[in-house]
């Protein structure tokens, strides 16, 4: 009889002692809409990866894509922070596992921009698998690589690049054709993403309302894994040069940064 009581109490213990969630991400978590059009005259609402917000991220009245204000993003040769030469603004919690999201922003390369080397003007950066114990900067750091997907301004063109391996920086590849970029002109970017850690994921990108991703026979969705794990990614824009110092001070203007669930919700 005591054995049965023991088993009964054991079962009760098992049922009530489970207090946590399965350490994997729930799919299709809702993503709130975001509008960062700088019309309030400041850069609130973003997370900063910049050396000096008063110098690297200034609000200007010219040039603007829409409304009264835009962001002037300046990267100097000495602007090194968070392990890289960068001046970036980030939006967290906007690219969850198995969510479908639209992102948009407009950019304007200053006519005095003089470098030809690469600069990431936007990226969807991976994150550690927090629920499985991971963090940034493990000791020793055993992996590190470019983000799963990024838009890169290089040699006066815009490239869409993806990365196949979270462990090396030698597995990046070009998606579609590089697009010639004229300095002193606004370009509108809209990105339609489905985030997944397998090849059901897709990316579909338009520049000035024209597809940048290649035609697949049906539409312009480029199917390729865009998550390294199920934590999801986060969105950054600005200028990022990794460990490679920029030669000159470069300026790019940004406006109409938006995140939403439809094309029309985010398109400028």
């Amino acid at each position: 009889m005591n054995t049965y009581f023991g088993l009964f109490y054991l079962m009760i213990f098992i049922v009530i002692s489970a207090c946590g969630k399965v350490p994997t991400s729930e799919p299709k978590q809702p993503i709130p809409s975001f509008v960062g059009d700088f019309e309030n005259g400041n850069v609130s609402g973003f997370h900063y990866l910049v050396v000096d917000t008063t110098k690297n991220t200034q609000i200007v009245i010219y040039p603007v894509r829409k409304g009264k204000y835009a962001l002037k993003n300046t990267l100097n040769p000495t602007d090194y922070t968070n392990n890289g030469y960068r001046t970036e603004l980030a939006i967290y919690n906007c690219a969850f596992y198995k969510s479908e999201v639209y992102y948009a922003f407009s950019f304007y390369v200053d006519s005095n921009y003089s470098d030809y080397a690469y600069s990431l003007i936007c990226q969807w950066q991976d994150l550690p698998y927090y629920v499985q114990g991971e963090v940034w900067e493990p000791s020793p750091k055993l992996h590190g690589s470019p983000p799963p997907i990024a838009l890169i301004y290089v040699n006066e063109t815009l490239e869409l690049k993806m990365n196949d391996s979270p462990s090396t920086n030698t597995k990046t590849f070009l998606v579609g054709e590089p697009l010639k970029i004229e300095k002193g002109k606004w370009y509108d970017v809209v990105a339609h993403m489905y985030w997944n850690d397998d090849n059901t994921a897709f990316q579909e990108i338009w520049i000035n309302n024209k597809p940048m991703t290649p035609f697949n026979g049906v539409d312009y969705k480029y199917h390729y894994r865009n998550l390294y794990n199920r934590t999801g990614n986060y969105f950054k824009f600005g200028q990022y040069r990794g460990k490679d110092k920029t030669e000159h001070t470069n300026i790019i203007y940004f406006d109409e940064v938006k995140i939403g669930s439809t094309y029309n919700e985010v398109a400028p």
Binding site: I14, C19, V22, T24, Q132, L142
Partner: protein, 200 residues
């Protein structure tokens, strides 16, 4: 003839293993990993396992796992896993079984607004197959953990290579299946560990 030869080796191994019954010894092990699903990520374990408690076939163990380090001390994440197991044999044999219950305490100290990791405590049931030969022993536990929104199964096959009576090297593979019941989602993950075990 070949089968007879193998049988002789097996029998001699079994006899030998009876002589140095590690079930009657406490042991401590440390191991380092790991090769995760798509990238290498450091983890370390320290494990203590008691001998069979006198006049019973019960053994207790506790594992401390630290994440993000190969140096055992982590500022961000630990798992603590105490376990009580009943052994269906008091001596080591080529095949024997154990069953046990325990807890898996996840301690998450991550301070990052992008993180959804939280500390928690889950019950754990272990069913394991063990075996012992002259130089080699193995264990094949199946751990089941219950969560408020699902369940997970982990198999942890481990092969030990005995260096001498007290010391052994081992390799362990861990394969996890995680399942969220509502809003159904499944994930497989894997890790590999290399370690050193000492009977004390």
């Amino acid at each position: 003839m070949r089968k007879l030869f193998l049988l002789c080796i097996l029998a001699s191994n079994f006899i030998h293993s009876q002589e140095q019954n590690s079930l009657k010894k406490n042991s401590v092990s440390v191991d380092f990993g790991s090769l995760r699903n798509r990238y290498i990520y450091p983890k370390t374990d320290i494990n203590f396992t008691s001998s069979l408690i006198k006049s019973s076939a019960i053994r207790v163990s506790a594992r401390l796992r630290s994440y993000g380090t190969l140096y055992f001390f982590s500022k961000t994440a630990y798992d603590v896993t105490p376990l009580v197991e009943y052994y269906f044999s008091k001596t080591e044999k080529p095949i024997y079984f154990s069953a046990g219950v325990g807890l898996d305490a996840r301690i998450r100290l991550i301070n990052d607004s992008r993180s959804t990791a939280t500390s928690s405590l889950e019950p754990l049931v272990s069913l394991a197959l063990h075996g012992n030969y002259k130089k080699v022993s193995y264990s094949l536990p199946l751990w089941t953990r219950w969560y408020i929104n699902g369940i997970s199964y982990t198999i942890l096959p481990q092969i030990n290579w005995r260096l001498n009576e007290k010391n052994a090297l081992f390799v362990r593979y861990e394969l996890n299946y995680l399942r969220i019941s509502k809003n159904v989602s499944n994930e497989w993950s894997q890790d590999v560990f290399f370690g050193f075990k000492k009977n004390i």
